[in-house]
Each structure stands twice: as C-alpha cells, then as structure tokens.
C-alpha cells in the first residue's frame, strides 16, 4: 500500500449510457441482461460494413436546453449530464437545490475523453467548405478539444483545485479515476469529480475502426454482436456515453455524513511497449497493471472476488486478458474470481469505458451481485476462468474487493481496485 494512509471513497455516481439516461436505469438493464446495441438508420449507411452501434437511450436535447447544446459537443453535454447526477447523488448543493457544500479550492475534476469533439471537428469543416470561415462557430475550438468536458465540468461546479483530462484511448477514464485517487491522497483535493465521456458514433469512426477490422459486422443481429468470450465473436461494437464518480477523502465524506458506495482502493498502470494497436498476446503488460493495482491498494490476490474485464469481444484481446489475470493473481486465485464483460450490453464507450465500468464495479460491490455477460452461446475453448453468464451472480458478504481493467490503443493498461464499504 502507498505510504499515504488517506482512504478515498466513492460518494456519488452518475451516467448516461446506451442502457439508460441515468444510473438506476443503466444498472437495472445490466441485471436484466439487455443489449444497448441498435441498428443505425442514417442516410447512406448501406455504404458501411457496420450498420449498428450502442447509442444513448436519452438524447441530450431531452434534458438540456437547445441554446446550451449549440456550444457543446455531444461528449461535453453528456459529461455535464452525468456529472450533475453524480453531484446530486453525493448530496451536494447546486443552484437552488439544498445540500452539502465544498470549498472550491479543495474540489478537482478529472474527466477524460479518448477522442474529444469528433462530430464538431467534422461538422465544422463541412460548414467551412460550404459557407466560409465566418460561419464556423466561434465555439468550435472549445467544442473539439478533448479537455473540453473537463473544463466545462470544472466551471459548472466551481472546481479550482485543478481540472485535468488524461488521454489514453480506451483506458482514458480508468486513468481519470486513478489520477483522482492520487489528487486526494496527495492532499491536492478533498473531493474530485472523476469520469469519462465519449460520443463519436460517426460514419468516419465506423469506417476507421472497420478498416482495421476491429468491429463486429454482425449486421443481421445487432443485439447479439457484442459477445465477449463466445467462440464466434468478431470484434467490438462502438458505443457512446458518459459516467462520473464523486471521489472523496473518507475523512471529508464521514464528516458530512455522506453515503459511501465503495472504497476506491488504488490503481495500477503499465505500458505494453509492444504494438500501437495489438494487445501483447502474453498479457504481461496487463498483468503488471493488475499487480501494481493490488500493491497500491494493499490487497492480496485472494482478496479479489470479482473482475470487471476490459473484454471487448475481439478475438485476440479477450483471451489475452484472461492470461493476464492468471499471470497477475496466480492460477489458484484467478480461478476463484468471477469475471464479467459489460461491453456485451453497453458496447465499447472507448474513453468513457473505464469510468462506466468503474461505476458498474462499485455498484456490483455495493449490491453484491455481478451482472452476467450476454451473448455467450458457445464459450471459447481457450476460456478457463469463471465467466458470469446466463444469470447475475451473488457475491459473498463481507470485506471483498474487485478490479476493473481497461486497456487502450497505444499499449496503455490500467487496473482500478475497489473495496466494499463496510
């Protein structure tokens, strides 16, 4: 465990996802095993080899006024929506709403996006070509920059301890949680709004991922396309959404009588130093991240009861991760762990995935039940660990811990450790 004894706890949760416009609807869909993947009905979609994605169930325009949305990229709007839910869930005041207050100098923000304002960049270029530079919105730059969501959330809640946006592709928002833990441990902040957001379901993004043969092309069965650990998995499904956690020093949370969802126990990182997009097939880099998370959290391999896997439904990645889990925990401890891959339902939120799955891990510990991975008709022969499938799985009572894995193009490996709050 790190020398610093500050314990960091999770006191607020917020999300808008392909499964629901908030945390309760997202969680109940996960327990019900519902897919958030739907066909795309865009004009010209037939030109693309992939014609489905996991889109939000609640459009930002349903919950935000139009004039505000004019100057927000979609990823920024949904980050604000998720942050508001988390802030309220943590019991903090906003505007006319009563609640606890926090000194702005002790409040930080870490909100990541892997890609940033892709829609803004591309739409603005169309405006420029068709109507000239004067018609390009003066808000284009703050809408396309990947730190936009972090800055906007900081402004919204008056966070002056620092506002950050770590970028590491699909590990981005797991890094955000790790950095937030460090901000609190190091004494820079008492409370941090931490999370991730992504909204780049766009023809270019589908074309680009399809071009690298990374996406499932199961066009005739979109809801069955994301199938981690199934023998016939053929790639991931692009998703969009945002998730935000309020992290807080235990001392600060207890002093105000806050409800504690779970303990954010620590975080581990590594670089594969192997390939810009392929995972290291031995899983050694991912294993290092998990071992370092255990060390940072002061946990032993046998303390881990559950792992929320990165599991994206790609042929290579899913089994490499299982090898990494065995490498990190040892064969015996690894066999005691129950594993699930929520991307089977949410699709892959890229830079939003690490935060959403951290949020799911927190709920899993709090509720004592692991959502099942869906669409495993035929378990891959290479899978020799306990994957939760069919029905959600009860977790034991008592002091248990879990890991959330997130890996990103570039060889970024991040594992976040959570403990149940007792």
């Amino acid at each position: 465990m790190s020398d610093n004894q500050t314990t960091v706890v999770v006191t607020g949760l917020g999300a808008t996802t392909p499964l629901g416009g908030d945390v309760p609807s997202t969680w109940s869909a996960l327990l019900a095993g519902r897919s958030g993947v739907r066909p795309l009905d865009w004009e010209g979609i037939e030109e693309l080899p992939v014609r489905f994605a996991a889109q939000l169930t609640v459009e930002p325009s349903e919950v935000m006024p139009k004039h505000k949305l004019r100057r927000l990229d979609r990823n920024e709007a949904i980050a604000l929506i998720a942050a508001h839910e988390a802030w309220e869930d943590a019991g903090y005041a906003f505007g006319d709403r009563d609640g606890h207050t926090v000194d702005g100098d002790r409040l930080g923000v870490v909100i990541s996006s892997g890609i940033g304002g892709l829609h803004t960049a591309l739409n603005s270029y169309d405006v420029y070509r068709e109507r000239g530079w004067q018609r390009v919105s003066p808000f284009t730059v703050p809408m396309l920059m990947p730190n936009g969501a972090s800055g906007l959330v900081g402004i919204e809640f008056g966070a002056m301890a620092g506002s950050h946006a770590l970028v590491s592709a699909c590990a981005s928002s797991a890094e955000a949680i790790g950095y937030a833990i460090d901000m609190i441990r190091s004494g820079r902040a008492d409370v941090v709004i931490a999370g991730g957001t992504e909204a780049c379901i766009h023809p270019l993004q589908l074309a680009a991922f399809a071009s690298m043969r990374a996406l499932s092309t199961r066009n005739d069965e979109p809801t069955r396309a994301s199938r981690p650990y199934d023998k016939n998995r053929d790639g991931f499904v692009l998703g969009e959404g945002a998730a935000v956690l309020i992290l807080e020093s235990e001392e600060h949370a207890r002093a105000r009588g806050a409800r504690i969802h779970a303990i954010a126990a620590g975080c581990g990182y590594s670089g594969d130093a192997h390939d810009i997009v392929q995972p290291d097939p031995t899983g050694s880099g991912a294993a290092k991240a998990m071992r370092r998370a255990l060390a940072d959290a002061g946990l032993r391999p046998e303390d881990i009861q559950h792992i929320n896997a990165h599991g994206t439904s790609t042929p290579q990645g899913d089994v490499a991760e299982l090898a990494a889990i065995k490498g990190a925990l040892g064969e015996e401890a690894a066999r005691q762990v129950c594993i699930t891959a929520p991307k089977s339902m949410t699709g892959h939120l890229l830079g939003g995935a690490g935060a959403l799955e951290s949020l799911i891990t927190v709920l899993t510990l709090r509720e004592g039940v692991v959502p099942a991975t869906i669409n495993i008709d035929d378990l891959d022969d290479a899978v020799d660990l306990d994957i939760v499938r069919g029905e959600p799985r009860k977790l034991p009572d008592g002091p248990i811990a879990a890991l959330n894995n997130s890996f990103g193009f570039g060889g970024h490996n991040v594992a976040v450790a959570f403990r149940r709050a007792l």
Binding site: K66, H67, Q134, P138, F139
Partner: protein, 87 residues
C-alpha cells in the same frame, strides 16, 4: 429588399439572441446592453453578429461590432446601412 422597420429589426434580433444564448426574446429590449444587461460574452456576440448579417443582409465588421453596445445600437447600425444602400 425594402429596408426593415425598427420593429422588424428588433424582432429579428431578439429571435437571434433567444436562439443563440437562450435569453427570452421579450427581454431583448432596445435600451439593454449586450454585455452589462444581457450578460452575453464576446464569442456569443460573434455568433449573434454573423446571424444578424445573414438575417438583415448587412455586413458588421469586427471594428464596428466593438462599438455596438446596446440593442438600439445594432438597430441603428442596420437601419443606417440599409438606408445608405437605398440612397
């Protein structure tokens, strides 16, 4: 096109302000200052000016935009230019 009346310009401008920054059109009255009364920032003023150019068919150069402090200033500017082009 025939020159717009003061009321037409006010109506058009207040619609632009409502759409751009969400201030109800009824609050956009001639004596209001964009910055001090309506709390509109400089980037939003650029958006409003471009929309006003499209709506009223008059160019508002950046140098002029800086001098247009109130809603009435914009009405006068648009009317002045429209009048000049008619003459």
């Amino acid at each position: 096109m025939p020159a717009a009346t003061e009321q037409e310009i006010l109506t058009g401008l207040s619609e632009i302000v409502e759409e751009t920054v969400g201030i109800p059109a009824a609050e956009v009255t001639p004596e209001k200052s964009f910055v001090d009364d309506l709390d509109i920032d400089s980037l939003s003023m650029v958006e409003i000016a471009v929309a006003a150019q499209d709506k009223f068919g008059v160019e508002i150069p950046d140098d002029e935009l800086r001098n247009l402090k109130t809603v009435q200033d914009v009405i006068n500017y648009v009317q002045g230019l429209a009048g000049a082009s008619k003459a």
